[in-house]
């Protein structure tokens, strides 16, 4: 718990630290006059009616924005409103469409994936909601600390205008600007000369996605096994604590359950499995000799430590889940990288098509002018079959073509310019992203190592205590 709070503090301070005053105060998109702190501080279950007037349950998240007074560092709450996950999605889709050259920060997963045995896959589970809350906060901080995205008006309104925000977004008509998936796919296969850097980046993002998925899958399995090891020790705790007391009920069943195959839920003994001293009298009416009492006492105190050991795994794995979330963020970032690459391919393909089109028109024009037919065309065939066109007709056609060619050349020029701008801006953001990724992943990996050390220290503590109890028997 403590570690998580600290991690959240780190994230926040990173965001605040990275945020600087807009470098160009002359730009109109200057909504933040002071440093801001953003937090997603609460999550609440709500019920309401959805678009088809059906009852539904969803979770709403409270977003609080504070502005930090420059002089004394105090922060004042300036805005606070509730948003649900679908609104975050809308915001992100908007940013994706309007800033195709930016690697847009990802949202936390919609549904729990890479779950290990004990972790719930239920979206309403409090632990999942909590981790999602942190993920959403992280998303907002990422956007707020991005030099370009932070200036977006819709983002500003997301944080400040509760009612009507959805309508405002939709009114921008951004959905119309979105490229169709099919078009993008088509471009990917047909583009002839994409920028090599983007091709490499696409391969990189594929590899990143594949290796992180694999890692998360295996990590989940490791967590499962570790959970088993720790929890079974809790059974020692039960047996030791009730050393001198008989078992209630069927001992054989308990034994079978404990040894049941690994795919079956392992049996954890509880106090209920044994006769409680109060139910059958201290020492169950038997006069235990000193030798038994000595052993019983020693084991009982050791049993307590076994319980501590067994329950320590819950916190340990909770912290590890936080680490998994950090990796997941970059798993989803890989998709954002690919989106930028796709946009480049689309633009490049568009450019190539435009150039091709222009070239063929020029050729047509030339052929008409010189009268030679080098390429087959239906028009040419029909005129051969059904008679030549008049010189006037030909002149008209040439004129039209010349106009089109001139337009085409303009368009090609501007497309070229656009393409080069895109590549330049995209690459700048990709460089920024790379640095961020290297920094974040390194920190995550190292804090994972620190986590392991702290887990080992706890282990040494518990077993040293247990050893002392055993040796006193």
């Amino acid at each position: 718990m403590q570690d998580r709070k600290i991690a959240a503090e780190v994230a926040k301070s990173v965001a605040v630290a990275l945020y600087t005053y807009p470098s160009d105060p002359m730009t109109e998109n200057n909504f933040w006059l002071k440093k801001i702190e953003i937090s997603v501080s609460e999550a609440e279950k709500r019920t309401g009616r959805n678009a088809v007037n059906m009852q539904e349950t969803y979770t709403a998240y409270l977003i609080e924005t504070r502005s930090v007074e420059h002089a004394d560092g105090q922060s004042v709450l300036t805005d606070s409103l509730w948003r649900r996950y679908s609104e975050f999605e809308l915001l992100r889709n908007y940013l994706l469409v309007c800033y195709p050259h930016i690697v847009v920060p990802p949202l936390p997963e919609k549904r729990a994936e890479f779950v290990w045995h004990k972790l719930s896959a239920d979206n309403m589970d409090p632990d999942f909601v909590e981790r999602r809350r942190i993920g959403l906060e992280n998303f907002l901080l990422r956007v707020a600390s991005h030099p370009i995205l932070c200036r977006d008006k819709i983002f500003y309104l997301f944080l400040t205008q509760e009612g009507n925000w959805k309508e405002t977004v939709n009114e921008t008509g951004f959905q119309l600007k979105a490229d169709s998936r099919l078009k993008a796919l088509n471009a990917t296969f047909r583009v002839k000369n994409p920028d090599k850097r983007f091709t490499d980046l696409k391969h990189y993002s594929d590899e990143l996605q594949s290796v992180i998925s694999h890692l998360l899958r295996v990590r989940a399995r490791v967590a499962d096994r570790l959970y088993g090891v720790y929890k079974v020790h809790g059974n020692y705790g039960r047996v030791f604590s009730f050393w001198l007391f008989p078992m209630r009920g069927n001992c054989c069943e308990s034994i079978q359950d404990i040894e049941a195959s690994l795919t079956v839920e392992l049996k954890i003994l509880t106090e209920e499995d044994f006769w409680h001293p109060s139910e059958i009298g201290e020492n169950n009416g038997i006069e235990w000799s000193a030798i038994e009492k000595e052993m019983g006492d020693g084991l009982q105190s050791a049993g307590h430590h076994m319980d501590v050991y067994a329950s320590s795994i819950d916190d340990i794995l909770e912290d590890e889940e936080h680490y998994a979330d950090q990796l997941k963020e970059y798993l989803f970032y890989a998709e954002a990288l690919r989106a930028v690459c796709r946009k480049h391919e689309l633009m490049q393909y568009d450019l190539e098509m435009a150039a091709q089109d222009l070239a063929s028109k020029k050729q047509q024009c030339e052929e008409l002018a010189t009268g030679t037919v080098r390429t087959f065309s239906l028009k040419g065939m029909t005129t051969k079959l059904f008679g030549q066109e008049t010189p006037e007709q030909r002149e008209a056609r040439i004129k039209v073509l010349e106009e089109q060619i001139s337009e085409g050349e303009q368009q090609l020029k501007s497309k070229n310019l656009e393409g080069r701008e895109f590549v330049k801006n995209a690459w700048a953001d990709i460089e920024r992203f790379k640095e961020q990724k290297n920094h974040d992943l390194k920190e995550a990996l190292i804090s994972y190592a620190v986590m392991q050390i702290s887990m080992c220290k706890k282990g040494i503590q518990v077993w040293t205590n247990a050893k002392e109890c055993f040796s006193k028997m």
Binding site: L215, S289, I291, I446, A449, T464, A466
Partner: protein
């Protein structure tokens, strides 16, 4: 030559000196601080060796069971184990014996001991078969587990004040194969015939009303102990299984980080570091598991077998003064057994705790090696001063 005795109580030291007839300056004399019961060099030097454990007895009989070997005949396939005995006792013709025995022979020995000493607690033998999960009779784990248990069996007998002098035991340890076969064929001896009578009498006295108090207590204890030790046995085996699975998953976990490092120039060191830490963890886990299977599991399982046996033996307790001497013998042996049990359980769990401590120390060592702490802390502090206070 006077030897330096460092840790023993002086009582024993005097005893040794008086027995020390031919104490030599032999360079091969064991250094007293590196005592090992398996490697005495000369019969008399053994007298100078003292166990630094609780026992103040002088141990003069050392037995090992090792080297399982498979024998294939036209009728059957079976395993024999090498039994090596080293002793300084006069009644043995030599100081060293090496024989080969199979499980059947151990069964025979146990039967003879039960016959001869029906009121004593005879150590248990490992199970004949383990039906669950056995694919073939002779897989390596099974053989190794059995070997360890047979070793324990013979040593228990050797340590027992009465059983250690049993004649059949001596023959078991020393006779060549053909000698043993012919001895087996002989009828039961005088002593064992008496034992049979005692047993017969004992079993005819069931359900006697006035049970002596000590046997009530013994009865209660055995019932509860049996439940508990069975649970502990299963719990321990389950832990071993879970650890094995954990080990298997970790073996896959490490290399993924190395794979990742191929596409990340700037993270190569960190990723490879993590991979190394995971490998270190695997090694430590293996060591800890082997510790479990050496110390804890066999001890606990032996007591499971003991408790099964004792649930039956306590029938004897239902006798009254009909076989008074039998009662007393059992009582004494019961005391001895209980003391041993407590010591054994205590050291088994103490060892287990020690193994776990060692495991965690190894892992911390591995991580510290791969990521020098300075680097760790500097990286964390550089981004957030808040952390400095918490660490």
């Amino acid at each position: 030559m006077e030897q330096e005795l460092t840790d023993t109580d002086t009582g024993n030291a005097n005893l040794i000196d008086s027995n020390d007839k031919e104490n030599t300056n032999d360079a091969s004399l064991m250094d007293i601080n590196s005592f090992s019961p398996m490697m005495p060099t000369s019969p008399l030097s053994m007298i100078n060796q003292i166990k630094f454990e609780d026992e103040s007895d002088l141990k003069d009989l050392f037995i090992t069971v090792d080297e399982p070997e498979s024998h294939v005949t036209t009728i059957e396939t079976f395993i024999t184990y090498r039994v090596v005995t080293k002793t300084s006792r006069g009644e043995f013709d030599s100081s060293e014996f090496e024989v080969r025995r199979r499980y059947q022979d151990f069964l025979w020995l146990k039967g003879k001991l039960e016959e001869a000493h029906p009121t004593l607690i005879i150590p248990p033998l490992p199970e004949k078969f383990i039906v669950k999960g056995m694919v073939e009779r002779f897989n390596d784990d099974f053989i190794e587990t059995r070997r360890k248990a047979l070793h324990k069996f013979l040593n228990r007998i050797a340590d027992h004040p009465t059983l250690t002098f049993n004649e059949d035991f001596k023959i078991f340890l020393t006779a060549q194969a053909w000698e043993l076969s012919s001895h087996k064929k002989q009828g039961p001896g005088l002593l064992s015939r008496m034992g049979q009578t005692v047993r017969a009498v004992a079993s005819s006295f069931r359900g006697v009303k006035n049970r002596p108090e000590e046997f009530m207590e013994m009865n209660n204890f055995i019932e509860i102990f049996s439940q508990k030790i069975n649970l502990i046995d299963k719990i321990s085996q389950r832990i071993y299984k879970e650890e094995r699975e954990y080990f298997e998953e970790m073996k896959e976990y490490g290399p993924i980080h190395v794979l990742w490092s191929v596409s990340e120039e700037d993270l190569v060191d960190t990723l490879k570091g993590i991979a190394n830490c995971i490998d270190k963890c695997c090694t430590a886990t293996e060591k800890q598991m082997s510790g479990l299977s050496e110390a804890l599991l066999p001890v606990v399982h032996e007591y499971v077998l003991y408790s099964e046996m004792l649930m039956l033996t306590e029938e004897i307790g239902k006798l009254e003064d009909k076989v008074e001497c039998a009662n007393n013998a059992l009582k004494a042996d019961w005391e001895r057994w209980r003391q041993n049990m407590q010591n054994d359980i205590k050291s088994a769990f103490t060892d287990m705790a020690e193994e776990n401590i060692h495991y965690y120390e190894q892992v911390i060592g591995g991580i510290s090696y791969c990521f020098t702490l300075k680097r760790l802390y500097s990286l964390l502090f550089s981004s957030c001063p808040v952390l400095m206070e918490s660490v």
